[in-house]
Assembly symmetry: C2
Homo-oligomer: 321 residues x 2
C-alpha cells in the first residue's frame, strides 16, 4: 500500500513522461502542455490509483483511468476559467488569458478528447468505466451550469447548493475512486461504496473550502481571505447566514452585498458568526466527513488496506490545522 | 438496401425520439435541443448506417454510432461558430449568438460528452470504434486549429490546404463509414477501405464546395456567390490562383485581397479563370472522386450492395447539375 506522497510522485513521473500531445499544431497543444505543467494536487488520479490498490496491484488500466480523470479535470479548468473570466489559475495566467479565447476553447476540447483516448486504452472493464465516466462528465457540466445560474438568483437553497457542488466537484472524485476499483475487478457493491465515499468526501472538502476562504489563515492558503465575499459568491456560509438571519441581520447582509464597503469582508465575517453560519458550515463539514469515513468502513476489504485513503481524507479535511 | 432518403427519415425519427438531453438545467440543454432542431443533412449518421448495411442488418450498435457522429458533428459546429464569430448557421442564429458565449462553450462540451455516451452504448466492437472515433475527434480539432492558423499566413500550400480540409471535415465522414462497418463485424481491410472512400469523398466534396461558393448557381445553393472571396478565405481556388498566376495576375489578386472593391467578387472570379484555378479545382474534385469510387469498388462485398453509397456520393458531388 503506497502513501499519497509516493503515488503523487509516481503519477507525476508517468503522466509527464507519457503526455499524449504531439508537437503540432503548436497553437493547439502548447496551451495543453502549459496548463498541465503549472501543476495541481493530482488528488483525482491518485485516489483512482489508491482505489485500484485496495483490490490488488496497480495495473496499466488504473494508470490509464488516472490519466483520464486528470486530463478531464484540466479540460474543465480551461473552460471554467473562460466562463468565470478568471485571469489566474494556480498563480499563473489562465489559458485563455495567455493564449486567447479560441485557443482556450479548442485546447480544452482536445484535452477532453484525450481524456477519452486515455480511458479507451483500458482493456478490462472499459464499458462500465465509460458508463461512470460519461455520467460524471455530464454531471460536471450540469454543476457548472447550476453554478452560473445561481449567480443571477437570490433564492438559492442549501439543498440546491449542495447539489451544485456535488455535481460540479464531488462526482469526479467519486468517479475516480470507482474507476480505480473497477480496474481490479471490484464488485459493484464495493465500487459503489467507494463512489459514495468520494462523493461525501468531495462535498466535505468543498464546504471546508468555503469555510477557509472566509475564516482560514490566509498565509497558509497562499491567497487572501474573503475572495468569495468580495465576489458575492453564494457559498454555504452566505446562503446559511441569509436563512438564519433575523430581520436586522438580513438587512445588514443585503446592504453589504449591494455595495463595496472597505470593511465588507470583516463585517460579513461578523454576520456569518452572529447568524451561526460559521458553526453550521463546520457542522456540515463534519457531517459529510463522518458519512464519508463510515462509507469507507463499509467497503468489504481488510481495514489495513484502507489506511492510505483514510489518511488522505484526514489530511485534506484538516489542512488548516 | 435502403436509399439515402429512406435512411435520413429513419434516422431523424429515431434520433429526435431518443435525444438524450434532460429538461434541466434548461440553460445547458435548450441550446443543444435548439441546434439539433434546426436540422442539417445528416450525411454522417446516414453513411454510418449505409456502411453497416453493407455487411448485414442495421443493428442497435449502428444506431448508437450514427447518433454519436451526429452529436459530435453538432458539438464542433457550436464551438467552431464561436471561434469563427459566425452569427448564422443554416439560416438561423448560431448557439452563442442566441444564448451567449458561456452557453455556447458549455452546451458544446456536454454535446461532445453525449456523443461518447451514445457510442458507449455499443456492445460489440466498442474498443475499435472508440479508437477510430478518438483519433478522428483529435484530428477534427487539429484541422480547426490549422484552419485558424491559415488565416494569418500568406504562404499556405495546396498540400497544407488538402491536409487541413482532410482533418477538419473528411475524417469524420470516413470515421462514420468505418464505425458503421465495425458494427457488423467487417474485417479490418474492408473497414479501412471504406474509411479511405469516405476520406476521398469528403475531400472531393469540400473542394466542390469551394468551387460552388465561387462559381455555383446562387439560387440553387440558397446563398450568395463569393462569400469565401469577400472573406479572403484561403480556398483551393485562391491558393491555386496565386500559385499559377503570372506577375501581373498576382499583383491584381493581392490588390483585390487588400481592398473591398465593389466588383471584388467578379474580378476575382475572372482571375480564377484566367489563371486556370477554376479548371484545376474541377480537376481536383474529379481526381478525389475517382479515388473514392475506385476505393469503393475494392471493398470485398457484392457490387449491388454498394449501390446506395455510390448513388449518395454521386448525388453529393453533382448537386450543381
Amino acid at each position: 500500500m503506497q502513501s499519497f506522497a509516493t503515488l503523487v510522485t509516481a503519477f507525476e513521473e508517468r503522466f509527464s513522461a507519457t503526455l499524449p500531445f504531439p508537437a503540432a499544431p503548436a497553437n493547439l497543444y502548447d496551451p495543453c502542455r502549459y496548463l498541465l505543467a503549472i501543476g495541481g494536487k493530482r488528488v483525482r488520479p491518485v485516489v483512482c490509483l489508491m482505489a485500484a490498490e485496495l483490490f490488488g496491484e496497480i495495473n496499466d488500466d488504473a494508470w490509464h483511468a488516472a490519466a483520464a480523470v486528470e486530463l478531464f479535470h484540466n479540460f474543465t479548468l480551461i473552460h471554467d476559467d473562460i466562463m468565470d473570466k478568471a485571469p489566474l489559475r494556480r498563480g499563473q495566467a489562465t489559458v485563455h488569458q495567455k493564449y486567447g479565447l479560441t485557443a482556450g476553447i479548442l485546447s480544452g476540447d482536445v484535452m477532453c478528447i484525450f481524456a477519452y483516448e486515455a480511458l479507451a486504452k483500458a482493456t478490462r472493464a472499459l464499458q462500465p468505466m465509460m458508463q461512470v465516466f460519461n455520467r460524471t462528465a455530464i454531471e460536471v457540466c450540469e454543476g457548472q451550469q447550476l453554478d452560473m445560474d445561481f449567480e443571477s438568483r437570490d433564492n438559492v437553497t442549501i439543498e440546491e447548493y449542495i447539489r451544485m457542488i456535488t455535481l460540479k466537484t464531488s462526482v469526479l472524485l467519486a468517479c475516480s475512486l470507482k474507476m480505480g476499483a473497477l480496474t481490479n475487478g471490484a464488485l459493484g457493491d464495493n465500487a459503489n461504496k467507494l463512489y459514495e465515499f468520494g462523493k461525501n468526501m468531495g462535498i466535505a472538502f468543498q464546504l471546508q473550502d468555503d469555510y477557509l476562504d472566509a475564516f482560514g489563515e490566509s498565509d497558509k492558503l497562499g491567497k487572501q481571505n474573503g475572495g468569495d465575499i468580495l465576489a458575492n459568491k453564494k457559498t454555504y456560509l452566505l446562503i446559511t447566514a441569509l436563512a438564519q438571519a433575523d430581520a436586522n441581520q438580513r438587512a445588514a447582509i443585503n446592504e453589504l452585498l449591494a455595495g463595496n464597503a472597505p470593511d465588507k469582508v470583516q463585517r460579513t465575517l461578523e454576520l456569518f458568526s452572529a447568524t451561526g453560519a460559521d458553526k453550521a458550515c463546520r457542522a456540515a463539514v463534519a457531517r459529510y466527513s463522518d458519512l464519508a469515513f463510515a462509507g469507507l468502513e463499509d467497503v468489504a476489504i481488510p481495514t489495513a488496506r484502507k489506511e492510505p485513503l483514510r489518511q488522505l481524507a484526514a489530511m485534506l479535511l484538516e489542512r488548516d490545522k
